[in-house]
Symmetry: C2
Subunit: 249 residues, 2 copies
């Protein structure tokens, strides 16, 4: 498989480019590529080009840029996954899966029942780490778009910042569904959507009320309570299917 | 939360029962329950009862059995996930997720591109380990049914053993979809379904041909190649949604 490299500064008119240090180091030390090797470069905003290694120098690797190529198709709906921070490294897998599925952005949430203290993510460059996971997943799944990973924010702020036209969906437990929430997505795909997924302990009653007052559609998927780290991929799978996201026809 | 214990020998007319050693040990040493504590018992075949701890003795724990209770609803379609063995422990997560979603059985597959040598699963009680993962996931997600985990078998054997009326779906890559496979499930839910998910390297051409000759519907979900360990939960999510599996109305 041809290595795909993330080159955010890839210019539209560049003929050659010095690869970013981390990608150059990976090519030189791990993949041990030589001049002439075929590679692909993508800018994280949807552009991907064929390229070849022009020179492997001690301090840099130069690529010669070829023709644009088709990356994996993007969804026709801008979907933001707004996911509560989870315990341990579970959020890493959620980010990886959400990027693979096709979200446009990953918004982390601080909720009433978030069990991870703020210092655990504000220290130690967690946000940079999460963004690197998004880059890594984009490389693996063939996307030329790297979704932004946005720092944890309260639910109210995230709801207020949503595009006015976005469909807002809140994943709720099956017991809430019995109390009147929906089990089906809007039949027509919206232009944009925000899907809210809670923490291990679920949403507080105040959060549900706030979301409903902000026009959220409560949505329950299936008869069982899903694990907090599995709910997002279930929701995104259903959105992709029901709205035919990424379909070529 | 009331502890849910797996008691396969739970009899329909039992008034008291000695709990299995592993469950008794867990109650005594980890949960440190006393006589009188509320528990629930399920038999792995769909029956669940309220119970209470009647006596905590040095060598056994006795439960007094109460009234039947409703477990999480089961899907109305018997779904078998036939999943190729994956590298490392990735299959563990697939089993856990498949049980959570609602499969009736988990059939492991040996395929042309399965990269795990047979001794790696035939030695060391891997099948028992996988079955324990299924029990653990059933406890966590509230199911009273523990799906059987069936030992790795070749694709041909699994296809031949499928119920004649079962819908057979083979997950294929998006490139195969462009060559003519479907992107939609049958509109009507069948009585039973087998969904086939390949290994990291995908299906061989012979396996695809064999499956098609056996009446499989090739199915592609979304525009990107899904990770082998993520494909099953995506497929099961879509089946649950499209066929309204587990819906209460």
């Amino acid at each position: 498989m041809v290595p795909r490299l993330y080159v955010p500064l890839l210019g539209a008119s560049d003929r050659t480019i010095d690869l970013p240090d981390d990608e150059a180091g990976h090519l030189r030390r791990v993949l041990r590529v030589k001049a002439g090797a075929a590679i692909r470069l993508f800018d994280g905003r949807g552009r991907e080009v064929a390229a070849r290694v022009a020179a492997v120098l001690p301090d840099r690797v130069v690529a010669e840029i070829g023709d644009p190529v088709d990356a994996a198709p993007e969804w026709g709906v801008r979907v933001t996954l707004a996911q509560a921070v989870l315990k341990g490294d579970k959020i890493d897998e959620v980010i990886r899966d959400a990027v693979m599925m096709g979200v446009s952005a990953m918004q982390l949430l601080v909720t009433a029942r978030t069990e991870v203290p703020a210092p655990a993510w504000s220290r130690g460059r967690r946000l940079e780490r999460w963004q690197r996971i998004a880059v890594s997943s984009a490389k693996q799944c063939g996307r030329a778009v790297v979704p932004a990973v946005l720092a944890p924010a309260p639910l109210g702020d995230v709801l207020a910042a949503a595009e006015p036209s976005a469909a807002k969906l809140m994943l709720v437990e099956p017991s809430a569904a019995r109390a009147g929430s929906g089990t089906a997505l809007p039949a027509e795909a919206p232009a944009a959507a925000v899907v809210l997924v809670g923490p291990e302990g679920g949403w507080s009653a105040e959060e549900v009320a706030l979301a409903m007052a902000s026009g959220c559609l409560p949505l329950s998927l299936g008869p069982r309570t899903l694990r907090a780290d599995a709910a997002a991929v279930v929701a995104l799978s259903v959105m992709q299917y029901a709205w035919r996201l990424g379909a070529r026809d």
